[in-house]
């Protein structure tokens, strides 16, 4: 009987061997995949097992943490959550994270590879793991001015402020907003709050970051870009040259006349005058004279057609190609397919203010280890040079005229040079929906450098269809944001 016994012994050995091989497959080969599987609750438990690092504005954290019961030990809290939500995004025990909270998750949780050595040391010395900090470029006073302005206005809207010389984002506000603290946990109240914030339950879509993720037809503010294209391509030499534009002006290839908003002095107007009163005819003609390619080229230099990463992704602004001349004319006054994010229009304003150099916009100044050592510092980076300094200065003088004695007088700040441009964009089928009120502007120091450029857009129920609304609704907000920055610098 011993021969079969030995065979049975081998069979039993094979059974155990199969188990050993399977175990190696599971716990060695597949281990990483299983451990980091998004459905594996350990991933979330680990994530909330240590206090998250903070997001910092002007030296002060705008985030915090609190302890909770259950699986997850720490919960995120936000100070002035609704105001900062477009900057921070949210991190929730139940719903994940987005925007800055998601992009810099590694640093904030302390899991980033650059913190590995430190974590290992902490583990050996028995210290608890800590997250690092994200230091932003934002300016608390400007952000507050922006958010309060939007809130007072009451309609949906957004504000972006940049520092033209560096590309630092100073303000990034969206309204209506939401307080990420209300969805940070994983309880029933968090789920309820979350459902209420979803677009299907809430037509105001408070979680939409309008500053980066919504594109609006820029309307007349786009004329700044068209003017830049005219100057750069040598169509006109300076601001006070006669543009020889007839009134009425019929769009090429059509029998349709391009209308101005009201009875404006646009016949044979100069660029300065055309920008001051916002002539559709003049800039429509400039666009169609230059043609699709040159307009598109200029738009691309300003950042159109590409997503920006600040590091949060912004939507790509639109300027179409292969358009008929009449469509180019409409596109050049910010209508037709043209659409831009508030960030994009702030970039246009900033490039003009920075004497023609567009700096890459960014909002993370520095990543810090838990010890506050700098891990990574963002250096200002030139993105493109859409126009020469000379042409930029010509454009500046034109925009300053707009504020001095044009449609943008509401943005005047005593003792500070301000340049700007209003806009009222029509949209909807046959322009049936409420227009958007725009204002883009910059403030300038006495030495010619610019501390701030702003773009404001308001989707207002009550906006009237003329340029006054851009100047009336949006300009005061831009003004208070600029004031906040300028005062802070003094």
């Amino acid at each position: 009987m011993n021969k079969p016994l030995r065979r049975v012994a081998i069979f039993c050995g094979l059974l155990i061997l199969a188990l050993l091989i399977r175990d190696n497959w599971l716990q060695y080969v597949q281990a990483d995949g299983l451990r980091t599987d998004e459905h594996n609750r350990r991933v979330a438990i680990e994530r909330y097992a240590s206090p998250r690092g903070d997001i910092i504005v002007g030296g002060e954290p705008i985030t915090g943490h609190t302890t909770t019961k259950g699986d997850f030990q720490y919960k995120r809290t936000y100070k002035d959550g609704a105001m900062w939500a477009p900057v921070t995004g949210f991190v929730s025990q139940a719903f994940g994270a987005n925007q800055l909270e998601s992009i810099e998750d590694g640093i904030l949780t302390g899991n980033d590879d650059r913190l590995f050595f430190r974590n290992t040391l902490d583990m050996l010395t028995g210290k608890n793991k800590e997250g690092g900090n994200v230091v932003t470029t934002l300016n608390a006073a400007a952000q507050r001015a922006a958010y309060e302005g939007l809130k007072k206005q009451g309609g949906k809207g957004s504000v972006v402020a940049l520092e033209p010389s560096t590309g630092k984002i100073l303000a990034l506000a969206s309204f209506p907003s939401y307080d990420p603290s209300t969805i940070a946990g994983n309880g029933a109240s968090d789920a309820e709050a979350w459902n209420k914030l979803q677009k299907k339950d809430n037509p105001n879509d408070p979680m939409l970051n309008r500053a980066l993720r919504e594109v609006y037809p820029p309307g007349s503010t786009f004329k700044v870009l068209t003017a830049a294209a005219a100057l750069e391509n040598g169509l006109y030499e300076d601001a006070d040259q006669n543009t020889e534009t007839p009134l009425p002006w019929t769009m090429p290839g059509t029998t349709t006349e391009l209308k101005n908003e009201g009875d404006l002095p646009c016949e044979d107007a100069t660029l300065r005058e055309a920008l001051r009163v916002s002539c559709n005819t003049v800039f429509g003609k400039v666009g169609s004279d230059l043609g699709n390619d040159k307009m598109l080229e200029m738009a691309k230099k300003f950042g159109f057609t590409e997503e920006q990463f600040v590091p949060v992704r912004s939507s790509a602004s639109v300027f179409s190609e292969d358009m008929a001349p009449s469509e180019v004319a409409l596109s050049s006054i910010g209508q037709f397919n043209t659409a831009a994010t508030p960030l994009q229009m702030a970039m246009v304003s900033a490039a003009v203010a920075n004497n023609g150099t567009l700096m890459k916009p960014y909002m993370v100044d520095e990543l810090q280890a838990p010890s506050l050592d700098t891990i990574e510092k963002t250096d200002p980076e030139e993105m493109s040079k859409p126009m020469s300094a000379k042409n930029a200065q010509i454009l500046q003088s034109m925009m300053e005229t707009v504020v001095e004695k044009g449609t943008g007088t509401n943005a005047r700040i005593p003792g500070v040079t301000v340049g700007g441009k209003t806009g009222t964009a029509q949209h909807g089928v046959d322009n049936s929906e409420n227009p958007y009120a725009w204002f883009i502007s910059y403030a300038k120091n006495s030495d010619g450098s610019s501390p701030v450029a702003v773009a404001v857009v308001i989707e207002d129920e009550n906006a009237v269809r003329d340029d006054i609304s851009g100047g009336g609704l949006a300009a005061p907000i831009a003004k208070s944001v600029m004031e906040a920055v300028v005062k802070g610098k003094q």
């Binding site: 030995r6 155990i16 188990l19 399977r22 716990q27 281990a31 609750r41």
Partner: protein
Amino acid sequence: MSSTTNPSTQHTSTIGAIGAPSRRNTELALLVFAVVIPVFAYANVGLALNDEMPTGLLSYGLGLGLMAGVGHLAVRKFAPYADPLMLPLATLLNGIGLVAIWRLDQSKRLQASSTFVEAAPRQLMYSALGVALFMAVLFFLKDHRVLQRYTYISMAGALILLLLPLVPGLGHNVYGAKIWIKIPGLGTLQPGEFAKIVLAVFFAGYLMVKRDALALASRRFMGLYLPRGRDLGPIIVVWIISILILVFETDLGTSLLFFGMFVIMLYVATERTSWIVFGLLMSAVGAVGVASFEPHIQTRVQAWLDPMHEFELSRAGVVDGIVHSEQAMQALWAFGSGGTLGTGWGQGHSDLIGFAANSDFILATFGEELGLAGVMALLLLYALIVERGVRTSLAARDPFGKLLAIGLSGAFALQVFVVAGGVMGLIPLTGMTMPFLAYGGSSVIANWALIGILLRISDTARRPAPAPATNPDVEMTQVVRP
């Protein structure tokens, strides 16, 4: 004969009287490790969870030490030549299992469940009962061949045990598998665990008698010895019983275990490979056949093929007449999260498995907290028990002992494979428990009895032959030999 059995047991009468070393002191030394290792593990859990020595450390250590000591004394007294490895191995597994059960008792997540009870004190009591039964086996069963007399009583007993869960009012359905009976006031019992041993006794007794008929009266066909029709009877009966278990108790594991055990013993008894082929064919036909109409088995198979899908169904709360469970996926995550070295005692989240985390799925806790290294060590401990069992079978001098020992060790190996393989996703999950490790009174008591019987057989096998009779014939034979 094997190396551990002293050559003198192949007794020639001249040297037969010299005793083989009993190895009782080796056993005692190993038992010290088998007690100390779980005690350290216990302290480790307490320190990891609460930063302090667990208050139960002393009583737990004493309890385990007492069990091991008493068990050792019983072996020393009643089975002095028994295998020295099995008792320490069983003690170690039982002790480590108790630590894991106690560790899961501390889980807040499991404590929140409505069915939560502190399992560790109960398991300690069951273990004590198990060791008591182990000693009783050694005390009352002076010679395993006595069991031969009860061949057909065993058969009847095994059938009754297997049928008990089907008796209305007694049977107890837990998540689809009907392998429990409920005794009012005492709790639940898994008769299948005991039936395993009783059936092995029946098979051994039956096959010992019939082996010649089964082995020799056969025709050769395509290299295989085909048994006669009437000799096929027993295997078909056992097969039908297995199928019935599968259908009515919906437990693939128990069914596979019994049938596998029978095929192994049949093969050993007859030395005919054809039985293996028949066995495999029949179990394949049976399993596939039943799976084609039994939704519970189908769910298990689907959960094995795509555990993630099953997890999502469970999470989505899909109700289609079958309880969908996320356990299979949770167990895989526990293993994966443990990685090579594990998180350390008390630091894992295997309690996410929820129901049966401390019984059917206890291996996942080891996988997460002790890692690949720990699970491989555990599997090798089981392999050692099986190896000692097979060795006992090789060493046994009587066919009944050989068959019983290989039946019990083979069933033990199959059970480890079916459970561990199920939890690790190698084969579909079945409702059985890791011997000694898992929480469950029936399992731990029955397995201690199993170890008792194996020790008895090995004691008989290793015991030196009685002093030779002064038989002149023997002397003459010796003289003739070179």
